[in-house]
Amino acid sequence: MDVNKNLKILIVDDFATMRKVIRNLLKQGGFENVAEAEDGAAAFKLLKSQPVDFVISDWNMPNMSGLELLKAVRADEELKELPFLMVTAEALKDNVVAAVKAGVSNYIVKPFTAEVLNEKIEKIVKNLAA
């Protein structure tokens, strides 16, 4: 089964260049239906106002961190099933475990390639379908 390339993906990162980097990598994987938010708070607002199929979020952000966003999403009745991929700088044990416990779908370590990103997305979506 192929992953639907029309997935609406939300990129959450406070660094605009980083969002562009991820957007480019997604494009290489064929994902072009992308939205952006600059922190957790903005992302949550967007998620509540329009349908999104997949979230890729940075960890370290002002206002609302990636972990806080994840917790808010999982605690929300409408959003709790939303696939959520966390981007971290290093595979720091404490960070990753905290995200996993909070129900993250998967995590990805910077820097990553389009292939790895693609793989992670497909894995999450397929697991969800199964």
């Binding site: 562009k20 002002p62 700088a89 595979a91 475990v97 910077k110």
Partner: protein, 732 residues
């Protein structure tokens, strides 16, 4: 909570494991298990079911390893399965007999060997394992995305520099509140973001440095390191280096000649030392400072050479100096050696500022006492040559002591400049203008107590320069200037003062418009011939800017008189240079310290007072005809065609004067904030530099008096505040 309930929790975990669709623990599932295990471990501990908590804890660590890909997923799956079965058996034992007869040691051993580390210790391997595995495809991808990288790189440069600006700002906040975690976080985050993007763009140098700084901050955040001024300096130096590296990327991008690679080894070494909590070595003195100290070049030559070194292609200061013949290669290389020596010795201690203030105070007293001895008539009548010589010797020692003690409180103006640069960035962002900030002479020193005082007037000037001086990008292009304007902040020492120049390359002052405005407001007559300089100074006059906003006068002048009076309150001077269409420079000079004042000593009756010299316009003895007194009105004096109110100092302080008639006494024309008045005194005794003493809490609020000083003859004199005197006179 009892064993049965614990058993139920474990069974629940076992059944969710049983219902796994694939023979694989994916991340969300691992998350669920980790939470369940946490609950089980906690409950097992309260029930003192040692085996259960050990076993569950071990399984938790196993899952973490699986998640971090430090343990093969299939192996982990198998172990986890057996672990759950064992867990159920142990729980059974506790449920039925209150204890477990078997042993979990065998399984725990297996867990430990699978994870490659003894249990209970923090596994570290995972931290590097994951990125390393992905290292090779990254380089391939980079080659493929070359074109895309160009535009990303551009974004990174702009955004990265912005972020570093943010860092600078927050470091200054942190310096004021070293315990505020929010500030540390606010610095940590930009470093982190810069690092993240740099890793994608294969900018290894930037990534490594940002990473090191981030680690350092992380330690500070977790209180493993104290936030000391040395640490703050180090972070500032680190962000400076990052800024330079990003700046270099920009130069490369814009096709400018590639400059020497920036050497990060020194800063990285300092960061590493700091991480280990070692004392931070002081930053070595700059080459230029050494050369100035050695007397090879003077401050002005240094500043000019520094500026020229900045002009592309940038050169090192030493190269500029040698090639222009300002310094000989020998001098430069000797200074370089001296600089290298400093790196090894870091003989500094930190002293409470209060102690320094006290010391400087006492030295001030010493100077005065010494001068009292020198002037003592009894001593002079002795006619002993040796004593005269010894006293002269004592005098030179005390004045040297005074000089070196005031230097103790000096700090570089660097941080003030950084705050100002940040302000420019914010202002230009808000107004849609493009502005570069260039700073020169950041190492120029100023009394620590002056730093905060001068900030506000400088801010006003910066605002003025950005809001009104700078044109919008499109207007700049029309005027044939680069789209991006430049504001230059420059500091240097000149004759016991620190001079700060704020220059912009904006539209400049319009001579004609200022003239017309001044004529309209009655400041000058329509036929007055003024030099450009005089015209420019008009905008500093009170009454130039009236209620009406005068943005039409190149936008300048709004409240500039307020800035001027703030500068003068600090006993500073201010001037403006401007060329229409080319830009404007505000020049401000401040005394290096507020501890000493240049004063004029005047006598009224038997009392002596000190008037600050900066406020004195002129000294006159008027003709009788110049004096006017209308009954019921104030007395006035005609001073070169202007009628100025007469203020009788003896009346204000209720003393019996020697002269009551202005034409027999002496008049001091003094400038207040918005007006001038003539002060009537008996005579002028002389001019002296005095050390200001405050009069203590109880006498703090006395109007017209700003402090006291011990005069050279040992008597105490009050330092008068012109503005306060004027107010007293107006109240009568």
């Amino acid at each position: 909570m009892d064993y049965a309930e614990l058993r139920r929790e474990i069974d629940e975990m076992a059944s969710s494991f049983l219902f796994l669709e694939k023979k694989e623990i994916d991340i969300p599932t691992a998350g669920q298990f980790l939470n369940q295990i946490e609950t089980v471990t906690g409950h097992a501990e309260t029930l003192h079911a040692g085996e259960i908590s050990r076993l569950a804890g071990g399984l938790g660590q196993l899952l973490e390893k699986v998640v971090l890909e430090a343990v093969d997923a299939a192996v982990g799956f198998g172990l986890f399965e057996r672990g759950i079965v064992l867990l159920q058996a142990v729980a059974d034992g506790y449920c039925n007999a209150g204890r477990y007869d078997g042993s979990v040691d065998g399984f725990m051993g297996e867990l430990a060997s699978c994870m490659g580390t003894p249990l209970e210790t923090e596994p570290n391997g995972a931290q590097t394992a994951a990125p390393a595995a992905e290292a090779s495809p990254v380089t391939e991808a980079a080659g493929k995305d070359r074109v895309q990288d160009e535009s990303l790189l551009k974004d990174f440069i702009t955004e990265g520099l912005e972020y570093i600006g943010e860092i600078e700002m927050n470091i200054l906040n942190l310096e004021q509140e070293p315990d505020n975690k929010d500030y540390i976080n606010a610095i940590f985050r930009p470093f982190h973001s810069v690092k993240g993007v740099a890793s994608f763009l294969n900018l290894d140098g930037i990534r490594t440095l940002a990473h090191d700084l981030e680690t350092l901050l992380d330690k500070a955040r977790n209180e493993a390191l104290a936030v000391t001024p040395e640490l703050i300096d180090l972070i500032l130096d680190g962000s400076d280096t990052l800024k330079a590296m990003i700046g270099q990327l920009r130069d490369d991008q814009e096709g400018r000649e590639a400059t020497e690679l920036i050497d990060t080894s020194d800063i990285v070494r300092r960061i590493k030392l700091a991480e280990q909590g070692a004392d931070l070595p002081k930053q070595p003195k700059k080459l230029g400072t050494i050369l100035v100290e050695e007397g090879v070049i003077n401050e002005d030559e240094l500043q000019e050479a520094l500026e020229r070194s900045q002009i592309p292609p940038p050169r090192k200061l030493g190269q500029t100096l040698i090639s222009e013949g300002i310094a000989s290669p020998k001098d430069v290389s000797r200074a370089l050696r001296k600089q290298a020596q400093q790196v090894t010795d870091s003989n500094t201690i930190r002293v409470d500022i209060k102690k320094l203030d006290d010391l400087i105070d006492m030295v001030g007293e010493l100077v005065i006492t010494q001068s009292m001895i020198r002037q003592s008539a009894a001593l002079q009548s002795l006619g002993d040559r040796k004593i005269v010589r010894d006293i002269a010797q004592l005098e030179s020692i005390t004045s040297e002591l005074q000089r070196s003690s005031t230097v103790l409180r000096m700090i570089p103006i660097k941080q003030t400049f950084q705050r100002m640069s940040r302000l420019v960035r914010d202002l230009s962002k808000n107004s849609g203008k493009l502005v570069n900030v260039l700073t020169v002479g950041e190492d120029t020193e100023i009394d620590r107590n002056m730093v905060d005082e001068i900030y506000n007037p400088l801010v006003h000037m910066i605002r003025n320069a950005v809001d009104h001086g700078m044109e919008m990008p499109e207007d700049r292009i029309k005027a044939g200037k680069p789209e991006k304007g430049t504001i230059k902040l420059k500091a240097f020492h000149r004759g016991g003062n620190i001079v700060i120049e704020i220059s912009d390359d904006g539209r400049g002052l319009s001579r004609e418009k200022i003239r017309q405005k001044a004529i309209k407001n009655g400041l000058i007559g329509p036929t007055d011939a003024l030099t450009d300089q005089e015209v420019n100074r008009l905008i500093l006059l009170p009454g130039f800017s009236t209620a009406e906003k005068i943005t039409d006068v190149s936008g300048r002048g709004v409240g500039m008189d307020v800035v001027k009076s703030a500068v003068e309150k600090l006993r500073g001077k201010m001037d403006i240079q401007s060329a229409e269409g080319k830009g404007t420079t505000f020049v401000t000079g401040f005394p290096l310290t507020m501890a000493i004042i240049d004063g004029m000593i005047v006598k009224v009756g038997s009392e002596r007072y000190i008037l600050p010299t900066v406020a004195i316009r002129q000294l006159i003895r008027p003709d009788r005809a110049a004096y006017n007194c209308i009954v019921g009105e104030a007395e006035t004096i005609n001073v070169m065609g202007r009628l100025l109110p007469l203020v009788r100092l003896h009346k204000l302080f209720d003393i019996e004067p020697a002269n009551r008639n202005p034409w027999e006494a002496t008049l001091v024309v003094m400038e207040g904030e918005k007006r001038s008045k003539c002060l009537l005194v008996d005579e002028i005794l002389g001019k002296e530099e005095v050390v200001i003493k405050n009069l203590g809490e109880s006498l703090k609020r006395i109007k017209g008096v700003s402090g006291g000083a011990i005069l050279g003859d040992g008597n105490v004199g009050l330092i008068l505040d012109p503005e306060g005197l004027f107010e007293m006179a107006e109240a009568n």
